[in-house]
Amino acid sequence: MQVPAPFDYKRASTLAEAIALLRECGPDSRVIAGGHSLLPMMKLRLARPEVLIDINHLSELDYIKVDGNTLKIGAMVRHVTLQKSHLAAEYYPIFAEAEEQIADPLVRNRGTVGGSLCQADPAEDLSAVFSALKADILIAGSYGTRKLPISEFHTGPYTTALNPDEILTEIDVPLRSNTGSAYEKVERRVGDWAIAAVGTMVRVDDGLISEAGIGLTAVRADHFRAKEAEDSLLGRSPSTEAIAEAASLAARHCNPFADQRGPEDYKRHLVEELAKRALSRALNRSLPEVH
């Protein structure tokens, strides 16, 4: 049996209490939500927090709602809730597509959206999804709240812009008209981390691409994003050529490395292939539905 090193446990029942506990317990404390990343690391003794602050009872952070022109997703929303959310799917089918490929039902039942982003695993799926959607991250801490674009949230593998006494509270996704989104992932086996995955969001106004987001995961793209590819699409009419060019740019501007999931050349190929597929599907979805 793998057992963690000794640790202390505290339960927070409100956000304010959680932040107070974080401040009180110091930088060797860690917030625990679903625990599906942190607990395995603790059992392998790769993570050894001295105190776990349990925020599973923070129901105030468990919501998916539309407020004005924004889709707001609370940090404590479980993967399964986002996967099955009609509201989220109505605006962005990418959520259901990505979520149903994240881990397995047991993990999705417990794991949280906020926890996934904070874990900042370089192969994490929602980082690519929110990057494609150009979401904003809301953060609360001892000194108040702040908001960061997703592109500034991740600072490297397993590291984020969060200070030790801060908690991610909400992800804000702008709502857009004439927009499609899609997610494409290849894994060695269901439940495995992605070999590579691509999330896309495309908005088409008056026959021209007016906004594009391409998120990449598991291929060391800066901030999970294919910026050059996104830029290449702007102002162009949707076409096979435009898609191919963007996909090729996405493949060129990421930095995959070889591991047991595949060699570097394959991963780069996969980014191109999946970007083509995800862009095509997003573009199809951006068209007004024919009734």
Partner: protein
């Protein structure tokens, strides 16, 4: 054998619910980790982080100061007990705790015994080991190069990493057929290192009673009797004071055949602390340090006429045995039964040569449902036949049909000397093709190919080689491979059957009761099966190599027949007639010509325990035993067809259909057989597509967790389509052949052949398992990867 239709319900062979499931589905199984004894302590093993390193010093003083630690055991202490090294199963030794060097990542270095398992783990971190890291030998192909580090300098005068050379067949005759062949195809292939990965990891609870001197070892073992005798031989423990008890086992697949250092350490821990000591390894320990399987680098060469008649086959193997040669197999066979590699085909000559080498990897070698390396043999021949089909541009089913052994050739002596007992091979292949709709599948494939879609159809035909084995040919460390069985009918006609074999999930409590029921007519529900406890069962070598039904099942059948014969004599006394005047009507002896006059087995059992005067020479009671020394192995066989679709953009393989026709002789319980086949097919999909234990250049194990060592899930498995033919074994008392490993042996080549068939438009001839999306894509580019090393 009586036809099922003629039998009363609940008697004999047939599709009955498993007796053991009543407790399993309620979570009431009793596994080693469920055993809690008064005063029990917990052990944990400190393992080497390095693949190859000299141990400069080990400082345990801080660990010993931990308030809950009761003992810290190192190799130095074991040396004083002469237990630092123990014999392996293959004329070598293995280290219980490293004394001089560590030779693979995960090797045992020290053992902590503490009051709870948390403290034991915490104390491991307090042990200071000073290592001097040495270069690791990772690539088996380079193990014999002159500049390779010497792994086994514990062996006197050892100057290389060579273990053995072994060959079988007629090399000259094989060369001769190659000279006259129209077509010769050569192919290098790797059967990569895989792991049995049973759901329950290995563990033991050792309880040395300091008063009686009796040592009880509760252990995850597939072979309790063999373990007990080996403990007695190695540690000098008196065998009558040793009890090995194997309770419910959560899967074995060969992983639980051998004796692991952890078992020995729990025993030493109990002797040292005078309290029971439990040791249960975690998942990573299981994957990194216990017996792996395969790791065979094979060069195949097949010869044929231009019409497709196979003439001969040669396979040269480089076998990676890891740091200690601890392969579990019959003593005389260093490559197991690999030399059955001519498979199911009629050919003039065959020859194989196997070279074993040491590497800085975990030892083991045969584990994982392989029937002593028949798995590797079947893979080799089935890939070579497909390579030949590609070369001849011939349909692989047609090529197989042309070369399969014909029914009239049985019993058949293979070019390497095996005597196949029985078989009707073309019938099984035809049935599989009919279930698959083979001709239509080929049409569909042609249409798909025209559209650029990649669909593949793969076949394999396997001949299994199980039921080891005849004592005159086979032993393990000098212990003959016969198995005992005792059947006792109680006065009221219920019965108990005691077995030397031990189930790990195969359903012995049901199937062995059914065997006794089939012969005696006692309802299956009235027969209790006792196994796994050396104090309460007869001697035998245990369950692996699909040997339970062919060997122990035969013992149960013979003992049951002895019961029936004894019952006849008692019935004749009861009915006051001559035994010859009685006829057996399942469960009842009755007077010929007067069926109303008869005695049931229950009536006879009661009489056997009562005051009835028995015929001369017949003692009371109704019991019998048998020690069964099989006259030959049994040779189950089957024809498998796999259909895959490959995504040409991503290399991802989808197994669309899998058709498995198995012939294991008569089926004791068809439901259990199907369950075994389903599990083995899933195994095969896993090995072919995802399971991998590779090592980086420093010898770090890259498959040490279920995040890295991928097992298939239901989503990777199609709905299995099974079929059967029945060809009884002529020498087994009930015609049974065994089936446990058939599907694991037969399915990987079918999956691989299917994927490579799908890739035919790219000119791909071969790519090694596992056929991950990356490997498939690389194969399409003409650059398949080595799958035993880290991907670069």
């Amino acid at each position: 054998m009586t036809d099922v239709k003629d039998k009363p319900d609940g008697v004999g062979f047939g599709r009955v619910t498993r007796k053991e499931d009543a407790r399993f589905v309620r979570g009431k199984g009793n596994y080693v980790d469920d055993i809690v004894l008064p005063g029990m302590l917990y052990g944990a093993v400190l393992r080497s982080p390095y693949a190859h390193a000299k141990i400069i010093s080990i400082d345990t003083s801080e660990a010993e100061k931990h308030p809950k630690v009761k003992a810290v055991i190192t190799g130095a202490l074991l040396e004083t007990l002469n237990l630092a090294w123990i014999p392996s199963l293959s004329h070598d030794v293995i280290a219980v705790l490293a004394t001089d060097k560590v030779r693979y990542q995960g090797q045992e270095v020290a053992f902590v015994v503490a009051e709870d398992r948390y403290s034991a783990r915490d104390a491991l971190e307090l042990i200071e080991v000073d290592y001097e890291v040495l270069p690791a030998v990772v690539d088996a192909k380079r193990a014999l190069e002159p500049d390779a580090a010497i792994i086994r300098d514990d062996i006197e005068n050892k100057k290389d990493n060579y273990i053995f050379d072994w060959g079988s067949g007629d090399e000259q005759a094989t060369e001769a057929v190659f000279k006259k062949a129209d077509v010769i195809v050569e192919q290098d292939m790797l059967y990569p290192r895989v792991h049995p990965a049973p759901m329950e990891t290995c563990g033991s609870v050792a309880d040395m009673d300091p008063i009686s001197g009796k040592l009880t070892i509760y252990c995850t073992t597939q072979a309790p009797h063999a373990h007990r005798t080996l403990y007695a031989l190695v540690a000098g423990l008196p065998e009558h004071k040793l009890r090995v008890y194997s309770p419910d086992i959560g899967g074995g697949f060969g992983n639980k055949v051998g004796i692991y250092p952890g078992y020995v350490l729990s025993v030493v821990g109990s002797i040292v602390t005078k309290r029971p000591v439990k040791w249960v390894e975690d998942r990573s320990e299981n994957l990194m340090s216990t017996s792996f399987a395969r790791d065979y680098h094979m060069k195949g060469k097949i010869a044929a006429t231009k019409e497709g008649k196979i003439l001969g086959l040669r396979v040269d193997v480089l076998a990676d045995h890891g740091a200690f040669n601890n392969t579990a197999q019959p003593t005389k066979f260093p490559a197991g039964f690999f030399h059955v590699f001519s498979g199911s085909y009629d050919m003039e000559a065959a020859y194989c040569a196997v070279k074993g080498v040491y590497t800085n990897k975990a030892p083991g070698g045969v584990a994982y449902a392989c029937s002593f390396r028949v798995t590797e043999a079947v893979y080799a021949v089935e890939r070579m036949v497909d390579r030949l089909a590609l070369e001849l541009d011939m349909d692989p089913a047609e090529l197989r049909m042309k070369n399969l052994l014909r029914p009239e050739q049985f019993p058949y002596t293979s070019p390497t000397g095996w005597e196949y007992d029985s078989g009707e091979y073309p019938r099984a292949l035809r049935l599989a093709m009919d279930i698959a709709g083979y001709e239509d599948l080929r049409k569909e494939q042609a249409e798909k190919r025209a559209n650029g879609e990649l669909m593949g159809i793969g076949l394999s035909f396997f001949t299994e080689t199980v039921g080891a084995g005849p004592k005159k040919h086979m032993d393990i460390l000098g212990l003959g491979m016969a198995d005992g069985c005792e059947v006792r009918v109680h006065p009221t006609g219920k019965a108990v059957v005691r077995l030397s074999v031990q189930t790990q999930g195969q359903g012995h409590e049901t199937t062995f009761a059914q065997i006794v029921s089939e012969v005696t007519g006692i309802p299956t529900a009235d027969i209790e099966v006792v196994h796994g406890d050396t104090d309460n069962t007869p001697f035998g070598l245990g369950t692996y190599g699909s040997r339970s039904t062919p060997v122990s099942g035969a013992a149960a059948a013979v003992a049951s027949k002895r019961i029936v014969e004894k019952a006849r004599l008692i019935a004749s006394a009861m009915l006051e007639c001559a035994p010859e005047d009685l006829e057996w009507n399942l469960g009842r002896w009755q007077v010929k010509g007067d069926p109303s006059a008869g005695k049931t087995i229950a009536e006879i059992a009661l009489a056997a325990h009562a005051s009835l005067e028995l015929p001369d020479g017949i003692e009371g009671h109704l019991d019998a035993s048998c020690v069964y020394d099989p006259p030959n192995l049994t040779f189950p066989f089957g024809a498998y067809i796999c259909v895959v679709d490959v995504d040409r953009g991503t290399g991802k393989v989808k197994v669309r259909r899998f058709i498995a026709v198995d012939d294991c002789g008569p089926r004791i319980n068809p439901m259990i057989v199907e369950g075994q086949v389903h599990g083995g097919l899933a195994d095969g999909v896993g090995m072919a597509l995802m399971e991998s234990i590779a090592f980086d250049e420093d010898g770090n194990c890259l498959g040490g967790s279920f995040m890295d060592y991928l097992l298939p899930t239901s989503l990777e498995c199609p709905s299995w389509e099974t079929g059967e033919t029945v060809t009884p074994s002529p020498h087994h008392p009930l015609g049974l052949k065994g089936v446990g490993e058939s599907a694991t042996v037969g399915s990987p080549p079918a999956v691989v052949n299917a994927v490579l068939d799908a890739l035919k438009p790219f000119g791909v001839k071969h790519a090694d398992m596992p056929l991950t999306p990356a490997q498939v894509w690389r194969a399409m580019q003409g650059r398949p990867m080595r799958t035993d090393l880290a991907i670069k």
